[in-house]
Symmetry: C2
Subunit: 399 residues, 2 copies
């Protein structure tokens, strides 16, 4: 199949290009390298060194025996997007080109406005371009499990049957996101659902859990194929950050009690699921929602597991609870479905500790790079609009 990846330079985009090429798909991609700039803006850097796109493309060609058709550009540039899709005529479009950080979106008015404009208008431009130049292509859009929030009932995959005052309907499941970033993804979901109904486009909206990990098999030992791994307060997701903290003997930073429960999946499972999604095309006009994660864990439980695996490797790291800079429930019901991908053949990795071991081994040689930017490990972006570094909470105060 011909697969177009928007955001091909990113944490998921670059491994996905490789994973798909190894399965015989033809890959094109666009990127404007904004992520590299955002991480620098917030004082971070990738723990694993990453290469220029020219070097990446060279390595890709050497390893997979085919080129990536790459063009530098932005989904906000509609003429660029439309022309690229018209030229490539993709079977599938994987949209990974959004600003992906909750904390970044909460910094101030301008970051919030940038986030929603970039994500909502970028995604809407994809819909218009599909309608105009490739209306039978399949849009695979990366949303987030965070769109749902933490309702006090089970979370189905996008839709549910409602009974209200004696009548029934099958309706979109209500969303309760927790940041302007998460809401931008809800806005996207709504626009995409609408375009599928209206124009007969086909799309799969992936409500993805938090991805972690440094490796997929296809990368081999070539450092040019390796993906970025961030650990700063904005772009460093929790397990990635914990592993970076462990290798420099920095206490693992749990926000609040750590009772927050979320769905997680290793990078290799994200690739597996995306390939399954791409290779199982929905009907024309169909809008599917897939909840995509391997398992649910509490943040405090994850910290404990990272601590245990670190100890096996001789790293004796402590766990600190910080006052929570976010507004979120720290104890809550959480039971999301994830049946659709399993039915299509997804086999969850299910060995968290093995994955953590790999990550810690990959990160140990990068201690100096992490240490050099360790200031970004403690959050100071607060959901109340202020900037103030989180303090350690007395463990006795945590129930």
């Amino acid at each position: 199949m011909r697969v177009f990846i928007a955001g091909i330079d990113g944490y998921l985009g670059w491994p996905l290009a490789q994973y798909l090429a190894a399965r015989g798909h033809e890959v094109a991609g666009a990127d404007k390298f904004l992520r590299r700039g955002w991480v620098e803006e917030v004082g971070g850097q990738s723990a694993l060194p990453i290469y220029s796109m020219d070097e990446r493309l060279q390595a890709f060609h050497e390893h997979f025996g085919m080129p990536v058709l790459f063009r530098e550009g932005d989904l906000l540039d509609y003429a660029f997007l439309r022309q690229f899709l018209a030229d490539f005529q993709p079977d599938a479009i994987v949209h990974l080109a959004e600003m992906p950080s909750a904390a970044y979106s909460m910094i101030d008015q301008s970051h919030a406005a940038f986030t929603q404009q970039n994500n909502v208008i970028g995604s809407m431009n994809v819909l218009w371009a599909m309608r105009e130049v490739c209306p039978t292509a399949h849009l695979v859009k990366l949303g987030t499990m965070g769109e749902y929030g933490t309702p006090n009932i089970d979370i189905p995959e996008g839709f549910f049957e409602v009974e209200f005052r004696g009548r029934k309907d099958y309706l979109p499941f209500p969303r309760q996101a927790g940041s302007f970033y998460h809401w931008s993804k809800v806005h996207d979901s709504n626009n995409i659902m609408f375009a599928c109904n209206l124009w007969g486009l086909r799309a799969t909206d992936i409500m993805q859990g938090v991805v972690f990990g440094t490796q997929i098999n296809e990368m081999g030992d070539d450092p040019r194929l390796c993906s970025r791994l961030d650990f700063d307060q904005c772009f460093g997701t929790v397990i990635n950050r914990f592993c970076c903290q462990a290798v420099i003997d920095h206490p693992l930073t749990v926000f609040g009690s750590g009772g927050q429960t979320r769905g997680f999946l290793p990078l290799r499972d994200s690739m597996q699921c995306l390939a399954i999604t791409i290779e199982n095309t929905p009907e024309q006009g169909e809008y599917r929602v897939f909840n995509q994660f391997e398992e649910c864990y509490s943040i405090a439980g994850l910290a404990e597991q990272v601590q245990q695996v670190s100890a096996e490797l001789g790293l004796h790291v402590q766990v600190n609870h910080l006052d929570n800079p976010r507004e979120e429930r720290e104890e809550h019901y959480y039971r999301p479905d994830r049946n659709h991908l399993i039915e299509l053949g997804y086999i969850p990795t299910s060995d968290l500790k093995a994955e953590l071991r790999t990550m810690l081994r990959d990160l140990m040689p990068q201690r100096e790079r992490i240490q050099a930017r360790s200031a970004v490990l403690i959050p100071d972006i607060r959901w109340n609009g202020q900037r103030e570094r989180s303090n350690i909470i007395d463990p006795a105060l945590i129930t």
Copy 2:
């Protein structure tokens, strides 16, 4: 109370300033006059002549014995907005400053992108500015009943109790909007709900029906106080358009079967409801949703009533059914609640025919203005992205 009106030059904004002044409130307002430009862009003009803001402000001062504090500017200009709110320190902010047309948002990619950017980022800027300079003010945001779409169950006011797999929660009611404009309002609703929960702001989100009418009592006979009235395919809402058609003996244009049912309210009821909302402040942190309409009517039923009242005035107009340029259900269940405003004292006008009579009388002297732009009475903006004028359907084919 001190009331700030964003979009004070508009169809609702200008009468609202007068209605509130007559009730003793102090009014400030901003406008960038974009609406005047959009109507011109699509080939329309206000059926009732409207005056410049300078002339309007002069008349306002003469009639109500107090000035409006007016500044020209845009909600997208965050520095302007923040400074104005900081200077005025409003008790309530009425947000009427959005691009309000479904058809305009469906013209093409650039109009869709403009609509969502203008509406979503403008509204989000209001939230940030409130947090920063007037966190206790009450935001009265104009949404639309169109956010709900036409579900096969009753429509509550914003929230409902859900039972799912044996557990219960109180959740936002699922939205199913029908245009990129309507979705922009859903995105707003979501952002506003979030900001109230997060920052303790207070807001009332008005799901308003379709407003019609030329008059509120406060306008008297001064043409400088009169409000605009559009009849083009983008900004002319259905009853206003029907009345303009009737006075130039142009067939009333019903889209499809006309079985589409919506909530409607006369301009004077919109003013009454907004004043009630402003004068009944929610709690700090409270996000209220009010469904605001006088009565539900089908489009075909309305055409018949306009036809009858026109005949009484000697205007014998016919009704044409056009092939529907929109994607919408033409026959559907529709039962929305509207209890909150009634409980606060809203008394619906309930005399549609009297209102139509007033409108037709006000519009008869404007025949030449309407005739001059009668080309904009037949829609050619289609929800499928094409431009093609609607044709008359054989009445025998309508069930």
